[in-house]
Structure formats: structure tokens, C-alpha cells
Subunit: 411 residues, 2 copies
Amino acid sequence: MIQVAIMGFGVVGSGVAKIIEENAALLKTRLGEEVNVKYILDIRDFTGHAMAGRVVRDFAVIEHDPDVKVVVEAMGGVHPAYDYSLKAIRAHKSVVTSNKELVSLHGRELLVEAKKAGVRYLFEASVGGGIPIIRPLSDCLAANKISSVTGIMNGTTNYILTQMKENGTPFADALSDAQARGFAERDPSADIDGKDTCRKLSILADIAFGYQVDPNEIYCEGIRNISPRDISDATEAGYCIKLLGHARVDEEGITPIVAPFLLANTHILSGVSGVFNGIGVVGNMVGETMFYGHGAGSAPTASAMVGDIIEACEVSSSPVLWEEKAPEGYIKDVTTCPFARYLRVKGTRADSLTTLAECAVRAVSHEDETAFFLPPMTDDEFAVILKMIPELTVTSSIRIFTPGEFVPKNG
Amino acid sequence: MIQVAIMGFGVVGSGVAKIIEENAALLKTRLGEEVNVKYILDIRDFTGHAMAGRVVRDFAVIEHDPDVKVVVEAMGGVHPAYDYSLKAIRAHKSVVTSNKELVSLHGRELLVEAKKAGVRYLFEASVGGGIPIIRPLSDCLAANKISSVTGIMNGTTNYILTQMKENGTPFADALSDAQARGFAERDPSADIDGKDTCRKLSILADIAFGYQVDPNEIYCEGIRNISPRDISDATEAGYCIKLLGHARVDEEGITPIVAPFLLANTHILSGVSGVFNGIGVVGNMVGETMFYGHGAGSAPTASAMVGDIIEACEVSSSPVLWEEKAPEGYIKDVTTCPFARYLRVKGTRADSLTTLAECAVRAVSHEDETAFFLPPMTDDEFAVILKMIPELTVTSSIRIFTPGEFVPKNG
């Protein structure tokens, strides 16, 4: 049994506990042992909560329990998170964190301490929430000299800018909307003035370029002054406006900046909308890469932290071994799965075309052909339709990717 | 000194040798030792080549040299790559490969053998070329039940489909163009008929879902029949057409498919154009993620393989430690870097507006304001321009992200 302590039982800390519970079987398969949350460090009252029995208020309990192998730091802020992390490491416990402020200021020191103590200090969740970026950058791209990192790393501001673009909303209204939906804090300044992005950029730049980049010394502009006219002018010229954290290195040094930028709509980061994050990395061998996903939220952030718990407990097991054979019938025949379809036919029989038009969600008439966008159906169902219209020749039939609807039918 | 043998000295194998040479200092910092290519196994004639002295024709030389720690398999095909990989592993050498055909058919067996021998079998380069995907999927997302993987995993077909969309080119012409540019093989069938994507999808599905998915049993349709009219109808309805490898799991089993799909232009994968690849992974905790980059080519593929060489030699060192302090002046002031800019001003002085219009690459007139898109200049240069037009009020000034031009000036 791998014993874990969670410090801070808010959105992120409780998310970690939830994954450990819900994906328990998966974790056991992976680690060969069960993972158990032995302690929760939090000063709030959890009377009546299922985990109330595990709540402690004194960090020393965790520090002095040799059973605790991994400490999950989800407290936020520098103090007392820094002191507790340091003490946990010195007590030979690995520490896993989502705390970008702490990592951007003291990450190096805690890594050095962890190395000394023979444990790990891991912070995949500190940048880009659930998006794998720290390990890909440190390990998979280790053969590259990194020349730049460029990210949309704050979901709040990206949501606001996306709303402003899509609905022409002024900044103040988009901010209120984000606050109402829980995407922005009541005091939103760390997000909209760029501080949060500075911290994340600092961590990426540290790893990418090998030198401590102080988050407080990064040139930083927020998005308060962006107006609907800025956005409409940008749109007309083929750009969107994004709050970017960007750092680049050349022979002379590193240049970090956090600011709103006009970004060409052909750039892969321009497709990163709403609360999503995207982080681009350019290496001298790999060229341009980009990592995309949920940059915040309980489950995504906790996903990265539990990934780090696994990493802290293993020496190395990647890639994971898979089973030699799936159970009979487990690899399914795709023809039994419903797909929406684009269908184009040749022929003029009006009644046949009407049959198709009746099931279609959209039709396009060409001189000599008609195209239909059909709703999801299996190959068998599709064959039935085709049989009804033998006088029409199918000139094209292509599936439509509808992620939410690609659900095989029961029975 | 870490001794490496490269089997197959074609595009990929020579790329690995090149990275080991060009990024030697980086590798030494990372591993604490130099990496040396001791042998190259290839039956071709390399007389006069700088590495000719390292070429051997007999695999047994590599197999029986205890100095060789890592074998890079860049031969392609199943035989003799399979036999050599197996023998290398049994001789306690880690094997690093880009061979998707071999991994999709025999990856599991070779992983089992590697585990027995206490070495690694790593294949980050087998899917998505330089894009980190195998390790993020195996490790960073290890806390997730993966529900689907969906990728544009073949640069040749994506280039062809992008050309067809952008220029209205018929398939045959786009294929010839891709062949002329070296993006498609003379016999392009493995790419355009979807076989290459099947192999990559098989590997992703193995890891994501935990069961061997035979690449030869995946439903597979290529792109030969896609016509310009399919693409224009799709475009009009807000879709693009992409060759997707997609596999999804539910309670009943895994459904894998490789086929051209209409994909909504709002989907993040729709932004993956030309020879680029993008791979989407959905997990029950992290939600939607996507990994983007060069899916083929000498340097990107070799980047992933050298990343695997590092992985094979280390126990664990991620995240890499960075230096506490950068040299004086190494973190540069962003105001000395030239940026293109969007500038909007209020005021009607025609001569002042002319001054701006003369340096602008684009101007937009509003009722009460004028906006200009200015070419890259430093903050100092920008200040000089602003001084020339004191009678105009600046209402907006936003930098434009121009990756290629963000190069600090010398002096």
C-alpha cells in the first residue's frame, strides 16, 4: 500500500483524492500496490465528510510518519507550502505539486533538496493543468536545444478573449460573465494582469533554457485594455488576440514576455479557444510542437498530479505493457457503430432525392449531383437507405467525425 | 562514454548520428557522459563517408560487443529488424526504434523480453515522429482511463488533403506534387491507402486500452476517392476532410477505424495542416488533450529516438535541474526586441496619419480612429515614431506575434 498525504483539500486536493478513489483499479495495475490517502492536511472543518477521519491540522504528523511516501501539495501560495515541502523532502518523502508560484520561485532549491534526499519533486500540474508539458519538455525533447516556448497558459483570460471575439462583448462584460461561470475569481487580477502566466512562463523557461528566470522580472502586460475594436480589426486582418507567455533564446540570452499579441489565424495556437490552454515548444531538431488541453480545473489538474504520484513511485516502466489478446469480440466491428455521413449521389429521380432529403440535416445541390449530410447511422442502416434509392448512383460517401456521437449502439 | 550502435543508416539513422554530433554538449550535460556511435549496421557502401570506419555488415559484431549499451533500430520492415532487436535485447542492450510496423506487430513481445533482460525497449518515434506522445500517454496521463485516441498521423496524406483544399487540386495532381516535393514515396500506397496510419493507431490503442490491437484487422479506408467537390461541400458546411486514425473504448470493447472523415473546423485537429501531425487523447480525468508537431522527417524522428536513448541510459532525472543564476545580462530586456505592432490612433491631422501610413503594412479607417499594422521595431524605434506625431492620441498598441521575426537586433 502506497501511503499518500494531501496538503490542502480544496478544488485540486479533493480532485486528487477523487481520482485515487475512482481510478483505484487502474493505479493498482500500474503500481502493483494500492494507493491510499492516509492524511489530509487542512485547517477547515470537514465534519461529516467521508474523509473527515483522515484530516489533520498539524503538518508534523505527516512529516514524522515514515509510512507516508508521497506528499501532494495543493495548498497554493508560498507559505507555508514552501516550508512543508522542504520538510517533507528532508523527511525522504517525494513531493508532487500544482503550485506554480512556489515552483517558479523555489523550484530549483526544492529539486536540489530532493536529489540530496533521494526522492522526487514533481510539478507537471504547475503549468498547463492536465496537459503533459513538463515531462515532454524535460525528457522527450531532451535531445533538442529549445529555441522558444510560447503558450496560452491562462484559461480565464483565454475565455474572456474568446467571448469578446465571438460575441463582440466588451472586456468588462466578458469578465463578469467569466466570473458568473466560475472561470474567473472575484479578484481576477492575477489572471487578467498576466501574473499567473508569468509564473508558468518562468517554469517553462527554467527547464527549456537551463537558467532561473525570475517571474517577477518578466515584462508583463495584461488584457484589461483590449477593446472590441482591437479584436474586430485583428479579425479582419486574419488575426486573433491571445494573451501569450513567450520566451526565446539566442546567442545573447533569453527574452521573456507576457502580453496580449495579435496571432495569425494560421498559427496552431490560434485554435486554442475558451478555457483551453496550448503550449508551443520549438526545438532545433524537432521543429515546432504544441501541447493542448485543459489548463485548469479539479480533474485535469489532479490528473497531472496523480500521474506524478505514479512517477514518484516507479523507477521506470514506460511504455506500459499491454495484454497479448483482447477477450473474444472485444475488438469490435466498426460497421456496427453509427456515424454521421456526407453522401453525394447522381440521378434526378425527385422522389429518391426527397427520401434522402428527409433524413438529411443539410443538402447541397450541384448541377449534376446532390450532396446530403446524414445523421449518425450504422453501416446496416445506411445500406437500408441505399437500397431504397437504387436509381441514384452514389458518387461519394464519407463519415463525419462527431466525437460525442461516436457511441456504439447497445444490442 | 555511452556506446551506441545504429542499425540502418538511411534518413532516420543518419539523423540520429547527426543529433549525437551536433547536440553533443547537451547530451553530455544531461547524461554526465559522452554518447558515441560505435557501429553503424548497413549493407550499403559508405566509402568516403565520415562515418565509413564505423560501418559493419555483420549484426553479430554489435550483439557480442559488451560496450554497446543502446541499439538504435532504424531499419524499417519486420525482418531482420525483429530478429536483431530480439537478439540485442537478449544481449542486455536497450533498443530504441522508429519502426511502427515492427512495434505494431511485435511490440508487446519485445517489451516482455526487455523486462526480462532488465533493459528498455522504447518507441517514441514510431508514432507521430518527433511529437512526444508515447510517454505522455503512458506516463503523464497514467491516472486516466483513456476513452479515445484520434490522430492525423500521416503527413503525406495530410499534405495532399491540405493542397486539395487550399488550391482545389484533384487528388492525382496533389499526389504528384507531394511526390515531386519528396513528401510522398514513389509507391505511395502505404500512406494514401491508410496502412501507415493503421500501424500507428494500433500502437496507440495498445497503450491506451491495454490490449493488442492487430493493425491488419483495423477497418481501413484511404483517401484515393476524395474529390475536390467533397472538399468544397465540406468547406461550405464548416468542415475539413482529414484522414483520421480513431479508436474508442466503451464497456463492450474497442472500436478502431482508419478513414477519411469530415471534421468540424472548430475541432482542434482541424488546424493540423500540411505535413504536420496531431494526436488527440481523451481521458476520464484530463478531458481532451492534443499533441502536435512534425510526424516524420529525419531530424524530428531522430529527436524522439535520441530522447529515448537518454531515457534508456537514465533511471530518472526529470525535471532537469537548471542553473540558479543566469550570467549578467543574459535575461534580456524585452524593449530591445523588435515586434510588429497594431497601433490605433485618434486624431485627424492628415500629415500625421500619412507618416504612420508610410511605415504601415496595412491600415484600417474607422469613423473616429485609424488603425495601422506596423512592421517589427523595438520600443525605442516605436517611441521615435510616436514623438513624430504628438497631435495623435494612441488608443491601442498591441504587439503582433511573428515567430520568424522575433529576433533581437545585434548591438
